[in-house]
Symmetry: C2
Subunit: 152 residues, 2 copies
């Protein structure tokens, strides 16, 4: 997730055939800034409101929805139920920690390849697959510490 300036953000929006409005730019910027945090619309709104007093919560919902529809961001589901968003559209998975209610990125190219390969071999009749997502649920043992993996 490299830092993008406003002009680059603007171009990213245009490349998805979305009008590069101020609200869309700041929402996208906020999401990129919150990489790995997976905020809900409400959180994005709270973050933007001070510097953008005229933005409305409804607009934030709308924008996130449009972004997701256009593949600019990903929707991630929390065990709690509310929709959360992720500006990282690269193939990766998510861990939901029941303790802290965090959604943690789980980046494992080996897993993605394994699944990619599996679904390529599987021949699904009458279904056009757009994407797959895998989510783990469990608990951090030490809620303050990171989750990490070791390959055997």
């Amino acid at each position: 997730m490299q830092q993008l300036n406003r002009q680059e953000l603007r171009q990213k929006l245009v490349s998805c055939s979305l009008k590069a409005t101020h609200q869309r730019i700041v929402v996208y910027e906020a999401l990129l800034g919150l990489h790995g945090h997976h905020p809900a619309a409400e959180e994005v709104y709270r973050l933007l409101k001070p510097a953008n007093p005229s933005i409305s919560l409804g607009t934030v919902y709308k924008i996130l929805d449009v972004f997701a529809e256009n593949g600019l961001v990903r929707r991630v589901f929390s065990e709690q139920g509310c929709k959360r968003y992720d500006a990282n559209t690269m193939a990766h998975s998510h861990i939901y920690c029941s303790n802290t209610r965090e959604i943690i990125d789980f980046e494992d190219p080996e897993l993605e390849e394994l699944l990619q390969g599996f679904f390529q071999r599987r021949n699904m009749q009458n279904f056009e697959m757009h994407s797959f997502a895998i989510q783990l649920t469990g608990n951090k043992k030490e809620p303050d510490q990171q989750v990490s993996i070791t390959k055997l």
Copy 2:
């Protein structure tokens, strides 16, 4: 999903150390009857209300939540966001059809084994995994027809 009579349902509940109240029995019965349908609380409520006029929506939410907490049923997340439930607790995956908003069972022992094996090999530090779930998103080509797989 074999047909269970009320006495058997009662025992299933008791075996999860849940009191076998009338409401719990009818909710569980409804879920079993709707195998493969993955209803939301609201739908279970609508189904039960006519024969159980005194049941309340809040109670249905509570019961489904208690069931999921005790592993009697599974929570499945829809792309839309609302929680849906599945009485089939066997390892299986789900397909979300953006067209019809259906959640379709995707039973593939080979996939389950593949993932089971993967996570057994992966050593995750500071995280106790409870479960994993994989969901596909896409569209049925012929909305009325079934989705099926052919192994190559």
